[in-house]
Amino acid sequence: MTAPAPIRQIVIVGGGTAGWMAAAALTRLVPAGIAVTLVESEEIGTVGVGEATIPPIRNFNALLGLDEADFLAATQGTIKLGIEFVNWTRDTHRYVHPFGEFGFDIEGVKFHQIWRKLYEQGRAREIEDYNVCALAMRAGRYQPPVSDPGSILSRMAYAYQFDAGLYARYLRSYAEARGVVRVEGKVAQVPLRAEDGFIEAVVLEGDRRIAGDLFLDCTGFRALLIDQALGAGWESWSHWLQCDRAVAVPSESPGPEITPFTRSTAHRAGWQWRIPLQHRVGNGHVYCSADISDDEARETLLANLDGAPLRDPFILKFEAGRRKRAWHRNCVALGLSSGFLEPLESTSIHLIQSGIHKLMALLPDTGFSPVERDEYNRLTDLQMQQVRDFIILHYHANQRQQGDLWRRMREMAIPETLERKLALFRNRGRFFRYEDELFAESSWIAVLLGQGIVPQGWDPLADGLDDDKLATSLSRLHEMFARAAQAMPRHEDWLARNAPARTPA
């Protein structure tokens, strides 16, 4: 038996964040004799607004060999140490989901269990007081982590906030320099092979034809290939995640201070993001159109800016859900064409990155065996579901009085996978992470506790330890962490010194 021929031509359609991230990563295949072409049209705008990310973005950049300072300077980038949630649990309440770990385990007992026990006795501060990223967020400070496990700074993790349009442009020059061919044009037709319905080529306006073995659909919500041409199906999650619109606007930076975190503020019918970049602030109000009108949503957004808007707000429409088959025939959807989850936990770019990573690992040959496709789709579904559950948690566990949306969210039936997690945590603060789960225990704990789900008890192993000693350890930990955070430079000063933004060309 002769093996089917290897893939020789990969065609990426769409040049937004997803398209150029894929192109940049696929440059690694060029030396193996694979041609990578990206088709995009300057006439079609991208949905790139201010984008926040999560720590694994650093792996992606490292894989490409990007220089951090250069990347930050090119994308108006800032450092993100976590997310601040305002009014989510109830009005005037706030909590943070910091990156990095809480405290230190003591004698094999998890820190949050020890914390829970002492908190009950009134001998512990809020849990975020034992997280160095949370303390640095509060102080508006930042310093890169160190790898020495003996140092407190090794407990940090961070991600970035940047202008997604500039990031795409930055990756474009990276990819083009390494052999990716960019073709300007709008796709007019997607002819399919008669025998198996595979995509044969994309035909551009003006009849230019680009043939390929494998096509990546990076066309955003339009899903030009995966849906319009191949009809790969959509599973809606709007019964759990009911927000279906966002109104977005950039605004002026309020002052010299640049917060090293993203803020999410709950409103009557949704929530508002605030993502600080070096030169401006990205804002958006995600809302449920059944509960308020577009005008009202726009007014809420504008009334809650901390700087003057820099343009007219624009509206995006969406539906939470996933593509039933993200990989269908010889087409793989990346980014919004593969599914949509609101950016509450900044997962959009990560889902793209993770799709690229899986695709590289499972790159097919021209035989397109269903085995690789099935594995890709299995892993993609698993990840989307896990992120979905994490986002539903924020909505479901609320005590907000205002707004029918929040009542519905509280009362709705949640996915069984999340139900199980909640029951175990409620009982005794237990947590079992699933295979390959994106958000680690510390993330779930931050949000579970922040949303007011306090375990009824704690790990009995914590009872074997001396309470007075624990109380002393905890206050020492807090002091150490607070001192480490205070000793860091202010975030805006660190940026000005290490990665000042270049004026966009």
Partner: protein
């Protein structure tokens, strides 16, 4: 609230549970009730026990000195020994053998996994077996052993080791470390209380059934059979005295009607013959073996542990590891609220873990290369559970092994078995093609060199055993 836990079974499972619980739950009263007969608490597999590399860590965490344990033989002629993996002979074909090592195999180049690089070299015409790039496999083949290095930069940190132990000696050591004495001998279980031989009754808030396949508390109900995939339904255990230095690995040798396990210790070898009664006349001393697992390991007040929960032929030393993980899970989930979510979660995790180890065992049968023998021909042709089928398909297609929740074995272990059995992926990773062939060959050559140098510097197994006071 859980104030009293009762353990039924005075074998290795019972005493391991007793030690783990006394250390984790100092406020809880633990009563251990002994049972009559041989210790089959992990299965009726003879007087020797083998562990995976996690076990030495477990011992250290529970205050058991490894050297003392190795010396704690029930008879003078049975001392513990070290293991670097398991040798499999006769599985990939009547004459073929291969090695499943403890530890990493090869080293990646950039982000491309070693076995993908090996596949590319193989496609270029080189004959190679990936286990030849494992330090544990090379050291085992040359009869050498020393404990691994703590320095992560050294190649001597790239492997782990398991233990071969005299089970009675292990049990006595665990018992001594727990500081407990048995409260009596089992007579009957009433669903709530255990009655002892002396007539007294014992109550407990939770019962651990560590009585082996007899499952004195958990009973016969709810047993899911794995017989459709694992044909061996009989086992004959033995002890064969032997002089000299034991090899630092276990051996699983397939034959026409099943396989023979050999665990070398100081002073002799623990043997167990596993066979299918349909393919071999009944052997003297044969014990019936109903491989499978309990569908709900935790029901009401009873948690089945060890062979009372899962009975699986020990192709690799996984039975201690399953018990170790079950105890860790149980302790994590105690105390459980009445009708709370804990038992369901325990059962879900325990069942997934057992099923994936089952798949690992089935893999050895499904991919066998013994032709012309009915048992093995049928095993090759049989349909396998869906998660295993998916693993096999994906590996055959491109050398990847998808892992599911609660897998005991890592992708490297699966790949070592698949590679050993002679399963070759149709294609390797395209990323491996992006590396120039000379760089690839140089990388592989360098790994071999570093490993061979390191193994040359290791002491012989006998020297290490002598230094531990295990042999004269």
């Amino acid at each position: 609230m859980i104030r009293r836990i009762g353990i039924v079974g005075g074998g290795v499972a019972g005493w391991m549970a007793a030690l783990a619980l006394t250390r984790a739950l100092p406020g809880v009263r633990i009563d251990l009730v002994e049972t009559a007969g041989p210790d089959w608490s992990l299965g009726p597999f003879g007087p020797a026990e083998a562990s995976l590399p996690d076990f030495p860590w477990w011992l250290a965490d529970h205050g058991v000195d490894e050297g003392e344990l190795l010396r704690a033989a029930s008879q003078e002629s049975r001392g513990g020994s070290f293991a670097l993996g398991t040798a499999f002979s006769g599985w990939a074909g009547q004459e073929a053998d291969w090695f499943l090592p403890f530890g990493t195999i090869g080293a990646p180049l950039g982000t491309t996994a070693f076995h993908q690089l090996a596949a590319r070299l193989r496609d270029g015409g080189q004959q190679l077996r990936i286990a030849d790039f494992s330090l544990a496999a090379i050291a085992a083949a040359s009869g050498r052993f020393a404990r691994p290095s703590d320095d992560p930069r050294s190649v001597l940190s790239s492997y782990g080791y398991g233990l071969h132990l005299d089970r009675a000696g292990l049990t006595a050591t665990l018992r001594a470390a727990s500081g407990l004495q048995p409260v009596g001998s089992f007579r009957a279980f009433t669903g709530d209380m255990v009655t002892l031989q002396d007539g007294t009754s014992i109550a407990a808030d939770l019962w651990l059934d560590c009585s082996g396949p007899a499952a004195l508390l958990a009973g016969e109900d709810g047993w899911e059979s794995w017989a459709e995939w694992l044909p061996c339904d009989r086992v004959v255990a033995s002890w064969n005295p032997a002089e000299g230095v034991p090899p630092p690995y276990g051996h699983a040798g397939a034959f026409e009607a099943g396989w023979q396990r050999t665990l070398p210790l100081v002073g002799g070898q623990g043997g167990a013959l596993f066979y299918a009664s349909a393919h071999l006349p009944e052997q003297p001393g044969a014990i019936p073996l109903a491989q499978g697992r309990r569908s709900q390991a935790w029901t009401g007040k009873v948690v089945a542990l060890g062979a009372a929960a899962t009975l699986l032929e020990p192709l690799h030393g996984w039975n201690l590891a399953l018990l170790q993980n079950a105890l860790a899970r149980l302790i994590d989930l105690l105390p459980a609220a009445p009708n709370g979510p804990e038992p369901a979660e325990y059962n879900r995790l325990t069942a997934s873990e057992a099923d994936r180890v089952r798949d690992f065992a089935i893999l050895h049968y499904k991919t066998n290369g013994r032709t012309g023998e009915p048992l093995w021909d049928a095993a090759r042709a049989m349909p396998v559970p869906e998660p295993l089928r998916h693993k096999l398909d994906l590996y055959a297609s491109r050398g990847r092994v998808p892992l599911y929740d609660e897998e005991l074995f890592e992708a490297d272990d699966w790949i070592a078995v698949l590679d050993g059995q002679g399963i070759r992926p149709r294609r390797h990773d395209t990323l491996a093609d992006a590396i120039p062939e000379p760089a690839l060959a140089q990388h592989a050559g360098r790994i071999r060199e570093v490993i061979l140098d390191a193994v040359r510097s290791m002491p012989h197994h006998g020297a290490t055993l002598r230094a531990e006071g295990l042999i004269a």
